[in-house]
């Protein structure tokens, strides 16, 4: 079994997995090592990081110095291919013409999906994050608790490799001793933020990111991940040995040819393929889940994009992990558009993104530093977890949920855009301009709010009543609305970041707007959309049960962000993987019992 075309697929599999990103690839990894025969459908092409990643290519070797275009929205060298904010021939629509009520949908079309370019930020949800409604009366509780997910967070961290430090801070869980890899040293702007943040009560410390700061321990980790399964241990050990440690250069958004960071194409999919239990069909765009008269899933109908023909593949279990939006679309398009697993009417409902806003500034202390290498681990080393839980619990704040702070600020590679803001170089040209660029380079900092959005009834997606994509599949129409909760949160973040910059003696860059509804990142722009098939306690008030299994269709599981009942400030990827592994263990157990 291996990478195949439609014509080479088996007549039936144990499990069909739609999607190859964090959720789908984790599912394939666990099921294949557990002995089930799986087929993975990926809407994009095959993608091979070892052969395709532009590692040391410079901006001056790229078209337009590598700057973003409608073809490559995050720049020429970003790993995302055949997608972005728009996918040619595959539109989506907005229910409202108002900018603040629109949703932006990022869709790569490639093996590994967004895991190829993501920020690698890997934060655990804390205990509060699974029971937010119990804590403040807003939003929805999950039917599971932190203790249910904790062991899976640990397994995922050991498998993919996550650097970071245990802080012991409230609702910011520690990992067991020895699980996290050593964090990288702080950069100048990060250490400065840490020093001055402390004075404001903001705890900057090592972030958790899925990057190998040293090689994974292939001698001991596989046995801890797969006890009593020497065959799986050997495969996983081989896969771990194939990954190199970070060499402290190149931006992780390009992907990594040496496997030093996590992307499903270098971490989950190779061992899954090595089991011989996985077929992958690229260019296979899933259209609907097929069901029989008894309401059980029997397979998936997909478009073979290489021929434009409809194809079917059959299995005992179907797992959707196509990204929350695409999973919703498949469910709504199933049964000839009558929808599937939707007796609650909640498929597509409660879509959440991360709350974002950004403030930048210039710090005179950081000017005129002598040149030195600050590339580091291809992304952030420090962040600040949310620090005001107690104030919220005491009713002292005008928003209920927290945000963490991600920061930028380093002597990173100039990327083709003007490295110095115009207001710092007014009137300058010639040697004075070059001297100013050298003076100010490295003195710019930026802070980003990454906050929790509370699910609301006005943020959802549904099938557009008329528009179809080029394959004839009805497309999604998005509805979006921020509540006062999110707007108050970004107002607080902006005030905090400005105070922080000023406390360092810096100047806050001018902002285009003072209105939260204008400076909040538009819906979808942080690319953390989750929800749409939430998990819950009963079939009446949710789509999935606590095992990511749909209430209505017993052999249909969802293992991307769609089952999230809340979207804490913690980036969703690690939780998607942990829940996917947990759901996969459940599928294996059910298969052993003959329940599937």
């Amino acid at each position: 079994m291996a990478l195949i075309t439609s014509s080479k697929s088996q007549s039936a599999y144990d499990v069909i997995i739609v999607g190859s990103g964090a959720g789908g690839a984790q599912m394939a990894y666990t099921l294949c090592l557990g002995g089930l025969k799986c087929v993975m459908l990926e809407a994009g092409r095959n993608y091979q990081p070892a052969l395709e990643t532009p590692m040391f290519q410079r901006p001056d070797q790229a078209p337009l110095r590598g700057l973003p275009t409608p073809d490559k929205n995050f720049g020429f060298f970003d790993s995302t291919i055949d997608g972005g904010w728009q996918v040619p021939g595959e539109p989506y629509t907005q229910a409202s013409e108002k900018k603040e009520e629109q949703f932006h949908w990022w869709r790569p079309r490639m093996l590994g999906g967004r895991t190829n370019h993501w920020g690698r930020i890997s934060l655990r949800n804390g205990p509060y994050d699974f029971k937010p409604r119990s804590r403040d009366g807003l939003g929805l509780d999950w039917p599971i608790s932190y203790v249910d997910v904790d062991p899976y967070y640990t397994k995922v961290e050991m498998l993919i490799g996550v650097y970071g430090t245990n802080s012991g801070l409230e609702n910011t869980p520690d990992s067991p001793a020895g699980v996290l890899l050593p964090p990288p040293k702080g950069r100048a702007a990060e250490l400065l933020s840490q020093k001055f943040g402390k004075k404001l009560g903001v705890p900057f410390l090592s972030i958790h990111r899925a990057i190998l700061t040293r090689p994974l321990d292939a001698e001991t980790i596989p046995a801890r991940l797969h006890p009593n399964n020497p065959w799986a241990q050997r495969i996983v050990a081989d896969s771990m040995r194939a990954r190199a440690a970070c060499f402290w250069a190149t931006d992780c958004g390009r992907g990594c040819s040496t496997g030093a960071n996590y992307q499903s194409t270098t971490v989950h999919i190779p061992p899954a393929l090595a089991t011989g239990n996985l077929d992958i069909i690229p260019n296979a765009h899933a259209r609907e889940v097929l069901v029989n008269a008894e309401g059980k899933a029997t397979g998936v109908l997909y478009i073979d994009k290489t021929t434009g023909q409809e194809q079917r593949v059959s299995a005992r279990v179907v797992v959707l992990a196509a990204s929350s939006g695409e999973t919703v679309r498949i469910l709504l398009n199933s049964r000839g558009g009558r929808g599937l697993a939707n007796s609650s009417g909640l498929v597509g409902k409660y879509i959440m993104d991360t709350v974002g806003t950004n403030v930048s500034g210039q710090i005179p202390l950081l000017e005129n530093c002598p040149p030195y290498n600050e590339d580091g681990a291809g992304g952030s080393h420090f962040y600040a977890p949310w620090w005001l839980y107690q104030n919220q619990a005491a009713g002292k704040m005008d928003f209920a949920r927290g945000y963490h702070i991600e920061m930028g600020g380093s002597r990173k590679m100039p990327n083709g855009s003007n490295p110095v803001p115009d207001d710092l170089i007014q009137g300058l040209y010639g040697t004075k301009l070059k001297e100013a660029a050298r003076r100010y380079y490295g003195s710019l900092v930026s802070y980003s709010c990454r906050g929790e959005m509370i699910p609301n009834k006005s943020s959802f997606c549904e099938l557009d009543p008329t528009l179809k994509d080029k394959w004839g599949i009805p497309v999604l129409r998005w509805h979006w609305k921020w509540s006062e909760q999110e707007l108050n949160q970004v107002a607080h973040a902006r005030k905090t970041f400005s105070e922080l910059i000023e406390s360092m003696g810096g100047t806050v860059s001018k902002n285009a707007s003072d209105k939260p509804l204008e400076f909040i990142e538009p819906g979808g722009k942080v690319i953390h959309e989750v929800g749409g098939a939430i998990m819950g306690e009963s079939a009446k008030d949710s789509v999935c049960n606590s095992w990511n299994r749909t209430w209505d269709v017993k052999n249909l599981f969802i293992s991307d962000g769609a089952p999230f009942a809340s979207n804490s400030d913690k980036n969703p990827t690690l939780t998607i993987m942990a829940l996917s592994w947990r759901a996969a263990d459940h599928i294996l157990e059910e298969a052993r019992r003959g329940n599937l």
């Binding site: 532009p54 040293k185 250490l191 002598p370 070059k434």
Partner: protein
């Protein structure tokens, strides 16, 4: 200040200078921006597509490879002159024109993407303004301007709040060109050296800022 290095023009270019100067002068300063000037015959880029959503990422590209370029010798000479007065050869590194910055600007105005197409008229009109100013103020073609004369052109547009009414668009052109030129210049190895970027090279370990920097900032390394 160095004089531009491409001041030897072909016969064809010389002819184009005459035509360009005559057209610019007859159009008049105020009509250069947004006008149907004969200088802007190529205001619309040739029809072409971009590099697509799945380009080859591992090879090096050169301006002109993916879409046809725009500049005629007159325009090219103006861009070279301006880029080199913005970012000259000096103790921090070579001139902009020696690092391919003018070719990048040509690639930029010729690109079949919305941002670049929006910049295109401003830049082409700004180049015509340079021709016109050189002729009316100094009775010279742009490549023949002395350093002080080029600087005088810059002085009249480089301070946004002090620019006189008729030069507002020229000032926008200047700032657009300065931003593009800086981006292009500092994304080359020589530009990295000029700005003080060190990196894009594999390391066995990451040490963080040196002691000298930590001392200057008054911080300690807090990660072992």
């Amino acid at each position: 200040m160095n004089t531009p290095n491409s001041n030897r023009l072909s016969r064809r270019a010389v002819f184009q200078w005459f035509a360009a100067t005559a057209a610019a002068l007859s159009a008049g300063e105020a009509a250069l921006f947004g006008a149907e000037s004969p200088l802007l015959q190529s205001a619309k880029p040739p029809a072409s597509t971009g590099y697509g959503t799945d380009p080859e990422l591992l090879r090096a590209y050169k301006p002109g490879e993916l879409w046809p370029l725009t500049f005629n010798p007159v325009q090219k000479a103006c861009v070279v002159a301006l880029c080199d007065v913005l970012l000259p050869a000096d103790h921090l590194g070579p001139s902009a024109s020696s690092l391919g910055v003018p070719e990048f600007v040509d690639e930029w105005v010729s690109a079949p993407y919305p941002v670049q197409q929006e910049d295109r008229p401003l830049i082409l009109e700004g180049l015509a303004w340079m021709v016109s100013e050189a002729a009316s103020r100094f009775q010279r073609e742009v490549p023949a301007l002395e350093a002080a004369q080029l600087e005088a052109l810059c002085e009249s547009v480089c301070q946004p709040e002090r620019v006189r009414a008729g030069f507002k668009n020229a000032a926008r052109f200047f700032h657009k060109m300065r931003g593009l030129a800086m981006g292009a210049y500092f994304s080359t190895p020589a530009g990295w050296a000029a700005i003080g970027y060190v990196g894009n090279t594999p390391l066995a370990k990451f040490d963080g800022p040196p002691a000298e920097v930590l001392g200057k900032l008054g911080v300690e390394q807090t990660v072992e």
